[in-house]
């Protein structure tokens, strides 16, 4: 029932209000005495090296694609896992999911072998 989602709605409202307060209050009331150090991008206390908007390695892209693919795999396996215990014969239910996973495992082995998982 959509009514079950009221807590989520409440949560979302609280999140928006809280973050709005956190952003607006300092902007309205905080003293502003900028120095070059204060204006530097925050890098966990270290001095920033190079521009923040530099080009990212293509490796990130490959990782993101792999993430999506296995994400989708989980989406398919999730409903299967919910009913797995009730399937009869159970080995057939297992075999069906095993074929699904094995085909993707082969893909993972392929990525590994081709060096797609190595960070250069």
């Amino acid at each position: 029932m959509p009514a079950d989602y009221l807590p989520i709605l409440f949560f979302a409202v609280v999140a928006v209000v809280l973050s709005a307060i956190a952003v607006l209050m300092p902007a309205l009331f905080g003293p502003k005495r900028p120095t070059s150090v204060k204006l530097a991008p925050y890098e966990s206390g270290k001095l920033p090296i190079g521009p923040a908007r530099r080009r990212f390695s293509i490796q990130y892209y490959l990782y993101a694609v792999l993430f999506i693919l296995f994400d989708v795999e989980i989406v398919f396996l999730f409903p299967w896992a919910v009913v797995f215990r009730d399937l009869a014969p159970r080995w057939l239910g297992l075999a069906e999911a095993a074929v699904f996973v094995l085909i993707l495992l082969l893909g993972l082995a392929y990525v590994w072998k081709k060096g797609g998982l190595e960070w250069e």
Binding site: I58, P79, L104
Partner: protein, 165 residues
């Protein structure tokens, strides 16, 4: 107006506003963020339609993964990241005409359609029913296995495209 109608309108504002943001944002990065808003709105529609699993998938895959991939892709190409792009070019008149014509045609047709509706209730345990359907040969076991082949093709393709030469 019922509560779900109010919620529907709010979600529509999110989904359509996000979509407009994607088209009109001058900065590609902001366009990608607007896309996330649109995705979330669509996830809300699924909840409203009592398709909870689909809503979860929408959040998990579209908001969680595809939006990230798009943002990565923008960050991979430096010029897109820093400079403003011009969403208009000399073909905008034609594009507007075509889009408006398609919109008018769809509205005209879809508003005259007598939409088939069913009285059936959405089952409470829709996920386990989905799970059954996925492995049952009477339903979707074949598309289920074929889907893994599709994922494999995408995997191999991604590695080939992303490989440094």
């Amino acid at each position: 107006m019922t509560v779900s109608q109010v919620v529907f309108i709010l979600l529509s504002i999110a989904a359509l506003g996000g979509a407009l943001g994607v088209v009109f944002a001058r900065n590609l990065f902001r366009a990608a963020l607007a896309l996330v808003l649109s995705f979330v709105g669509v996830a809300g529609f699924y909840v409203l339609l009592e398709a909870e699993f689909l809503a979860m998938v929408q959040i998990l895959v579209y908001v969680g993964a595809i939006a990230i991939l798009i943002i990565f892709a923008i960050m991979l190409s430096r010029r897109m990241m820093s400079s403003e792009t011009q969403p208009w070019n000399e073909q905008w008149v034609g594009a507007v005409v075509v889009a408006a014509a398609l919109f008018a045609a769809l509205v005209f047709i879809l508003s005259r359609v007598d939409w088939p509706a069913t009285e059936a209730q959405v089952p409470a345990d829709s996920i386990s029913q989905l799970g059954q359907a996925l492995v049952s040969p009477d339903f979707y076991v074949l598309p289920f296995e074929v889907a893994s082949v599709l994922l494999l093709v995408a995997l191999v393709g991604a590695v080939i495209i992303a490989r440094e030469q």
